[in-house]
C-alpha cells in the first residue's frame, strides 16, 4: 500500500477487518472465484480471525491490523461496510471522512489530506524504453 509507505513516518495506520463483502453464501463475485478468495460469511470470531490471517499472510500486508467483533461494533460506529477510509487527527476528531465503498472509496482523497499536511510524495513514473526495431 503506497500511501502507507509514503506517510507512515508522519501518521499511524490501522486496518479494521469488518464482515465479508462477497462471501460464498451471500453475494459472491466471479472475480473472487477467479482469484481463489472464497469464504463463507464468518459465524464466529475464530472464523473471522482465520480469514483476516489468511489475508495478511497472502499479501504480506504491512499495516497494523484489528478485527471487528461479531457485534460489528466498529463497523456500526463508523458505517464502515463494505469499505471506507477515515483520518482521525491527533485530538481525536474526524479529520477526513471517506465515502461509502466501493464506488466512493477514494484513497487519493486520504492521500491529499496527508499531502496537505506533510507534503506530497512524488514517485517518478516508470518509463520503459520500447525495444528497438532491427
Amino acid at each position: 500500500m503506497q500511501i502507507y509507505n509514503d506517510y507512515k513516518d508522519h501518521a499511524d495506520f490501522l486496518t479494521v477487518y469488518v464482515r465479508e463483502a462477497h462471501p460464498t453464501d451471500e453475494w459472491q463475485m466471479k472475480s473472487n472465484v477467479k482469484d481463489d478468495v472464497c469464504y463463507a460469511q464468518p459465524k464466529t470470531l475464530e472464523q473471522r480471525m482465520a480469514i483476516a490471517n489468511d489475508f495478511t499472510k497472502r499479501f504480506k500486508y504491512p499495516l497494523p491490523f484489528g478485527v471487528d467483533d461479531m457485534a460489528n461494533a466498529a463497523d456500526l460506529a463508523y458505517s464502515a461496510w463494505p469499505e471506507r477510509l477515515y483520518i482521525i487527527d491527533e485530538n481525536g476528531h474526524i479529520a477526513y471522512r471517506g465515502g461509502m465503498g466501493p464506488f466512493n472509496y477514494k484513497p487519493a482523497e486520504a492521500r491529499a489530506w496527508l499531502a496537505g499536511r506533510y507534503g506530497e510524495v512524488k514517485h517518478p513514473e516508470k518509463t520503459e524504453s520500447a525495444p528497438k526495431k532491427s
Binding site: 495506520f13 490501522l14 486496518t15 477487518y17 480471525m49 461494533a73 460506529a77 481525536g92
Partner: protein, 88 residues
C-alpha cells in the same frame, strides 16, 4: 378515475423497470442486482459522522487472537488513518 389509475400504474411500472435496469447496470447483471438488494443494501449506511466530530471508539482483536485494543488508543500524538475492509 380509471384512466388516472391506469396512468399511475403505468408510471410505477416504468419506474420499477428503470430502477431494476439501473441496479443491474451498477451491479453487473440482474442476478447481481438482486443480491445487492438482499445482501449489500441492509449493511450499507451513509452514517452521521462529520468532519470535526469526536471519533467513535470500538474494541478490536489483534491478529494473535488474544490481544484486545481500542481504536482510540491509537489516536494519541499523530493522525490515524483508518482503513476498513474485508478480504472478499
Amino acid at each position: 378515475m380509471k384512466r388516472f389509475l391506469k396512468w399511475a400504474l403505468g408510471a410505477v411500472l416504468v419506474l420499477a423497470v428503470v430502477a431494476a435496469g439501473a441496479l443491474s447496470y451498477m451491479a453487473g447483471s440482474p442476478k447481481d442486482a438482486l443480491y445487492m438488494v438482499r445482501y449489500a443494501f441492509p449493511h450499507m449506511h451513509r452514517g452521521a459522522l462529520k468532519v470535526g466530530d469526536d471519533a467513535p471508539d470500538a474494541q478490536l482483536l489483534a491478529l494473535d487472537g488474544q490481544t484486545r485494543f481500542h481504536i482510540r488508543e491509537r489516536t494519541a500524538g499523530r493522525p490515524l488513518v483508518l482503513v476498513f475492509g474485508s478480504f472478499t
